[in-house]
Amino acid sequence: MIARDRNWLLIFAVCVALAVIYPFFADGYQLTVIRDALIFGLFAASLDFFWGRTGILCFGHAAFFGIGGYIMALVTLNDAIPFGSLLGIMGAVAGAAFVAAIIGYFLFFGGIRGSYFTIVTLAMGVICQQAAVSWSSVTGGDSGLIGIPPIAFDVGGLHVDLSQDLPSYIFVAAIVAMVVLALWSISRGRWGTVLTAIQDNEVRAAALGHNAPLRLLVTFVLSAAIAGLAGALYVCMAGLVAPDLSGLLLSTEVIVWVAVGGRGTLLGPVLGAIFIQRAQQTISSFNPSLWPLLLGCVFVIIVFVLPDGILSIYARLKSLFKGRRRAQ
């Protein structure tokens, strides 16, 4: 469902241009709001890379976000470890990928797909949250860990210090743009085509010589690694990590972002994440208990009204006009 290349690149360029000019119009606070929304956008894109291309829904993706966050926190809070920020990010990515590799191996090579996969990953999210709560000597239990320093490192003369608003915004925006572009080029190429074949008919794809479980596993691991990266970035920006970062609610929220933005478009989920978080902040400021109610309604409405997300409105309008022109 990746939109045709030219259109997609056009929308991507517009988004990048908007991200570049945004700091000229925004103050520090607005920059940090968008920065955090972008991190969740990266998280949404990571889920979409798997869900959108394979059609298999992972209902515990926040587990990887949380694992990345906790690893980043533990590494940077330990003074004995040099280059904390860099090693923390690498550890977060590797840790999330490692867990995904084990779980994915169990599930994909066990022939588990569809609803069963969804349920097992749902439990995986619950497990991670419970583990974070009960393993309090390491994770800080219910209250989590606080005082995580902002990212700072020196590599080959390049000095990076993200304690200020503007540098951290630029850093995050650049990473999100690069990762989304990379994911897109992977999924529009041969890799994505094979995944589509597996989604359509796995038995036939396997008969053509594709190692379907391995393809799914690698895609899943890549997706989890990026979720771990997003988690690592988030805890440094927020300065704290807590069990709900790997919990069920965040897992479901990221699914809404992807569904609203349009599954399989990679860019749509990022926009969906930013859009919905703004809406959430606005609505919660009126009445905090109203938000979950609205979130639930959005789920139901999306399923019935916009199964392909907000980006599909454009395609629908276009086909509407085309149809008219033909009718005249």
Binding site: Y116, V120, L248, I255, S289, P292
Partner: protein, 285 residues
């Protein structure tokens, strides 16, 4: 000795509840291939029904009678309004039912307010079981659950509606071919599962903390009951309940409940990997 019997009875309490909750899931997940994430809320609705009747001055037993009715009403509305339109779209069902579960949770919270709701058991005190003394209400709970299960077995095995259900499980197209209204069968079966889950909620209400969010705890466990046990048979349901419920009860003595929950779910995942054929009824989805 008495420790062993107490552990066994505690396990039996949990297993009974899981069986009742899992039954509805086995119907929707196994029979209809509908992943209903709002199933935990049927339990919540049942528990709230007991609380509501009690707070209006009614007895516990009246509340317990209202619980399955409340579950059935919510289940029937859900099936009619949403699920029947999504039988061919599994992923959409997951999204929609999760949305419904959020709506139900928040709706209950807005109606009844924050905080845990007190539900008093109909019988206080303990019962002398020769080996040990055990809370009388828990024994009643186990008894009612077993009777309900027996009723369900008879319903599915001995009535014409049960025959319809078994036919639809085996082959939907063929069932339609011989004139069974599969849509109606689905609707009734779904409502029935919701009613049993509501009854389970009513039964646990005096033991559990009655909160709008309580359903999530039962949802994950009940799914594993169904997956571990394998869909489509009462025997599988019992086996899955014994696995999940028994392990949880035993672990709860040794370690914290949240860690116990995590370990049980991990064990269930491993079980699913090791015995996929027995667990998945041949066809994986």
């Amino acid at each position: 000795m008495d420790f062993l019997v107490t552990t066994l009875l505690n396990a039996l309490t949990l297993i009974s509840i899981l069986m009742l909750v899992g039954l509805g899931l086995a119907i929707s997940f196994g029979l209809m291939n509908v992943t209903n994430l709002a199933h935990g809320e049927f339990v919540t609705v049942g528990a709230f029904a007991v609380y509501f009747v009690q707070s209006m001055g009614g007895s516990f037993w009246l509340g317990l009678a209202a619980a399955p009715i409340a579950g059935a009403v919510v289940g029937c509305i859900l099936e009619f309004a949403i699920i029947r339109h999504l039988y061919s779209r599994p992923v959409s069902t997951v999204l929609a039912t999760w949305g419904v579960s959020l709506i139900l949770q928040q709706g209950l919270e807005l109606t009844f307010g924050l905080g845990a709701k007190p539900v008093t058991p109909p019988i206080e005190g303990t019962f002398d079981l020769f080996f040990t003394v055990y809370p009388a209400y828990r024994l009643i709970l186990i008894g009612i659950a077993m009777l309900t299960l027996l009723g369900v077995i008879l319903l599915i095995g001995r009535t014409s509606f049960g025959l319809d259900i078994r036919t639809v499980i085996q082959n939907r197209e063929m069932a339609e071919g011989v004139g069974i209204n599969t849509r109606r069968t689905y609707a009734i079966a779904f409502t029935f599962g919701a009613a049993i889950a509501g009854l389970a909620g009513g039964l646990v209400a005096p033991l559990a903390i009655v909160l709008p969010q309580m359903g999530v705890n039962y949802l994950a466990n009940a799914f594993f009951v169904v997956i571990v046990g394998g869909v489509g048979s009462i025997g599988g349901l019992v086996a899955g309940s014994v696995f999940v419920g028994g392990l949880t009860s035993v672990l709860n003595y040794q370690i914290s409940p949240s860690l116990a929950q995590a370990i049980v779910l991990l064990a269930a995942i491993v079980a699913v990997r090791l015995r996929p054929n027995g667990l998945f009824n041949g066809a994986s989805r």
